[in-house]
Symmetry: C2
Subunit: 345 residues, 2 copies
Amino acid sequence: MKAVVIKGGKGPAEALSLLDSVQAPDAPGPNEAIVKIAAFALNRMDISQRNGVYPVPPHAPSTLGVEFSGTIEVIGPDSTTDLKVGDRVFGLVAGGAYAEYVRCSTKLLLPYSEPTTLESTLTFLTAAGIPEVWFTATQVLLQIAQIHLIKDRIKNVLIHAGASAVGTAALQLARSVLGPEAKLFATVGSDEKVKFVESVAGADYGINYKKYDFVKFITDKTDGAGVDVILDLVGQDYFMKNLTIAATDARMVLISTISGGVVEHANIGMILYKRLRIEGTTLRSRTIEYQSEIKELFQKYALPHLLSGEFVNPVDKVFSWEDIVQAHKYMESNAAMGKIVCVVD
Amino acid sequence: MKAVVIKGGKGPAEALSLLDSVQAPDAPGPNEAIVKIAAFALNRMDISQRNGVYPVPPHAPSTLGVEFSGTIEVIGPDSTTDLKVGDRVFGLVAGGAYAEYVRCSTKLLLPYSEPTTLESTLTFLTAAGIPEVWFTATQVLLQIAQIHLIKDRIKNVLIHAGASAVGTAALQLARSVLGPEAKLFATVGSDEKVKFVESVAGADYGINYKKYDFVKFITDKTDGAGVDVILDLVGQDYFMKNLTIAATDARMVLISTISGGVVEHANIGMILYKRLRIEGTTLRSRTIEYQSEIKELFQKYALPHLLSGEFVNPVDKVFSWEDIVQAHKYMESNAAMGKIVCVVD
């Protein structure tokens, strides 16, 4: 089959190449399927993996790609799924989506139909870019912070990198779960992104971190109360600021440490006297069972709003997979505001 | 009524004095009771509070004392409790137990009977020293770390200060919930305490931290797997060691920061890639509702074993409350291995 390979095993964007002699996946086992891929979406971890610096889970194939849309070609024996051959699906996989065919768990597939009315917004292009971002937002806010279970005591929420794909998803999900009363704060890196998170993603306040100290900004806007939930991916540079702006009993979820992972003078006394919960998490390294719990929360709390068009999952740019080198370079340029999708054409 | 007061509002042990002209508590409201106290137990926070450095909850009386045993004297109107006047009870309160009478929530009272057979081990002396320690152990292991809900994946547990009252309780509770297969590690400060935690508290390995590096010790004994649950009260000096010895998906609960609260070079990257959950907690500052959730877990998972004598809650020394100065000095000497109890005689 055709698939994107990395010449030499790792390298820059130019090392990517579409070959037509790649071995097809093994036959699916129970609760597995082979999906003929229509489109896949890019993620930052694809770049890390291409550079040889990502801790790829042991069971993942060497081919890049964790999310896709397509059509079910084969379903493994003794599977308990309601899905059937020919169904249009999108889903998450530990790797291998930059290919004509991928072997995946039926527990992480979701069916969709091409839109037949103008109101429906999900196509194979938009669906391909949903799983990684929305499963992550669902995992952070629902499975870990459990905001749906404690929503009565959540007044203020802080989403860092609010204009990122995960940030945009988290803001919409938080608004939907918590209702109009909750105040949503989002840090972003430009005034353009302030407008974006306030108009598109439902933030009450976009905070341009290049102009404002978010601790001071939020302290002012909450009369000193601070925030009850924090989604962070900055790490090192924000750790003490996050602890400072956290309210009593706040929950902070760490999904990356972009600025580094070592904090000088970490005041962990704040964890004690504010009774904070801090949890680090990743999505790709998790078991199928764990990911399928996320899928169920996603189906309940997010998918209906994505299907109705109430939630947006912006696609910034679509490439043919023959232009995978350009697609990776575009992602590396940090110019995208939304998903980058490749069509397997 | 009689009560222990602190002359001058704060000071050393000698500032404590038993006066007989202290104002009795106000009449109880709904779901409150007045208990005539038989005995109260000492806690380290009593010393901090006496020294004027403890953040006393706003609703607490100025009189010291958070745990006691005694007899119900009055029950407030419109109470929903099954308890009745004359019942022997022990319980937790935000303050005021160093007195003849205390006003408290009926939701935090537990009934007990004086032993009529040799098999029953709970007396007014032992009962007085149970709530603070056992509610704390229950809160940490069950309400926060939830080891009863995830026991299948807990193989190794680390309890710091294993010979302390909370450490001893936590070891026994962990053993009871997790069964004989779990490996329990406990750090202690002497070889005598190694013997104590291994013979009395059910630890598999007491580790004298003055002789051994607990990270190396546990790495060896678990073939590098590390621990799934950590109860810490040391803070600063142990933070990075705890993160280092934590297994993937480990949960760490911080209940104090005895060595200080500021960590130099805190590698929070470990929180991310090990997917750790770190939570700080305190007991006394919590709402009655939260504490009564702990009480229910305690009644289910610990109380039956305390009543049967399977769990021990060692009382080190009993004083008359007339000797409260000596009792506080004894606690400050750090010689006690178990609770210090004062009889209101």
